[in-house]
Symmetry: C2
Subunit: 220 residues, 2 copies
DNA sequence: GTCTATACAAAGATAGAC
DNA sequence: GTCTATCTTTGTATAGAC
């Protein structure tokens, strides 16, 4: 395999650049990272970057495509047909908030970074909008399948359920990122279950006993 | 009042710079906006900016303080003691998602911009964390007061309720921004009510009749 | 396809006049 | 306190060698 070098070096370069970009864009933000910094982190040069992607913007676009697949895997792992979907919610929550396991920490940051570009750039807007729609769709579909299999009735249409679950997860993760104690996993899981009518709102308190619960505000 | 100029010009400059910064940071992002652009938009020069705030970073810090108050007002308008808090939820939602009424559109963008700095910068982190904690606190307190006054029992501690409501609002607003149809107001209001146990999960469908509800995915 | 070197533009920051 | 002018650094992008 002495010949592999030439044919494959280019795809490896693409991968290296995209990975480096994901890391840096998430950690510092798109505008705060120079093309050179990305190239350096990927052990390449700006020349290679421009040759492949035409610039930083093009790199972000390429990154989006790759990222899409990883995220769908991350969030929509088959919701098994257990009577209680709580473990599945917990898994999704952990996938989003995990410190660095499989770049869990960076996931939220990059996702928000992409959202921003979508909200600001007319080119990215529809792309990101579609991305979110797909996530909602997959999420909702999974829930609908589960409901049908277990004989439960969801109080929302699949897409609506997807939107609410995704919304709650994102919004809670944002807060969790700055103040983990303020948004414990049990709270989120319980809320999601309640939201979808999978338990009575008042009944069955969060999995872990709701001890005391004195306000945990940081008061520095 | 010929003398007002000297004493007050400086505070007017501060205000102008902060307002301009809020507008531009929200619309383009902190790193995408130059100090000069902010100064120009405020009809001042970079010299004045540096003299007052020491730089762009300092300006962001100052902006945060001002923004704090406006947001608390925006989100925690007294929750009146009606039996149904839905109108109040609807008002909060509109405050967050309103196109440009009172800079409603920019609100979410700037809020996310601040969150990012908090998540990335060790100096901003605690400040933004505190900010969110305060919003949660106010929100939760308002809900608790309402519950007590109306004889309702909230299934969560005040801070927990605040975290969930804020989370759902934020996460839904993020999606709404890219695809308004996917997250209609009635859905969010209904979800919030359900979440807090103010109606049975399955019962009382959203205010507006849930017509058809064919998936509204953009399929460009 | 990738690197080195570099042109060119923009941004951050400051000194000194008013 | 504010402006004009400018210095320095950093970033984008390209041309040409390998």
């Amino acid at each position: 395999m002495a010949r592999r070098t030439q044919e494959q070096r280019k795809t490896e370069t693409r991968t290296r650049l995209i990975d480096a970009a994901a890391e840096l864009f998430a950690r510092k933000g798109f505008h705060a990272v120079s093309a050179e910094a990305v190239a350096d982190a990927a052990d390449r040069t700006t020349g290679a970057l421009y040759s492949h992607f035409g610039g930083k913007e093009g790199l972000l676009l390429a990154l989006l495509e790759v990222w899409k697949q990883r995220t769908v895997e991350r969030l929509t792992a088959e919701i098994h047909q257990l009577p209680d979907p709580a473990p599945h919610f917990a898994a999704m929550w952990e996938a989003i908030t995990a410190p660095a396991e499989d770049r869990g920490e960076a996931w939220l940051l990059l996702e928000i970074e992409l959202w921003q570009h979508g909200a600001r750039d007319p080119v990215f807007g529809p792309l990101i909008a579609r991305r979110f729609a797909e996530i909602r769709g997959q999420l909702g579909e999974g829930l609908a399948d589960w409901a049908e299999a277990t004989g439960t009735e969801l109080p929302y249409a699949p897409d609506e359920a997807g939107a609410l679950v995704l919304g709650a997860l994102l919004g809670c993760a944002l807060q969790h990122r700055l103040d983990p104690d303020a948004v414990p996993e049990e709270l989120v899981v319980h809320a999601l279950s309640t939201l979808l009518g999978l338990r009575t709102p008042g009944g069955s308190p969060p999995a872990s006993p709701r001890t005391e619960q004195t306000p945990k505000e940081a008061r520095p």
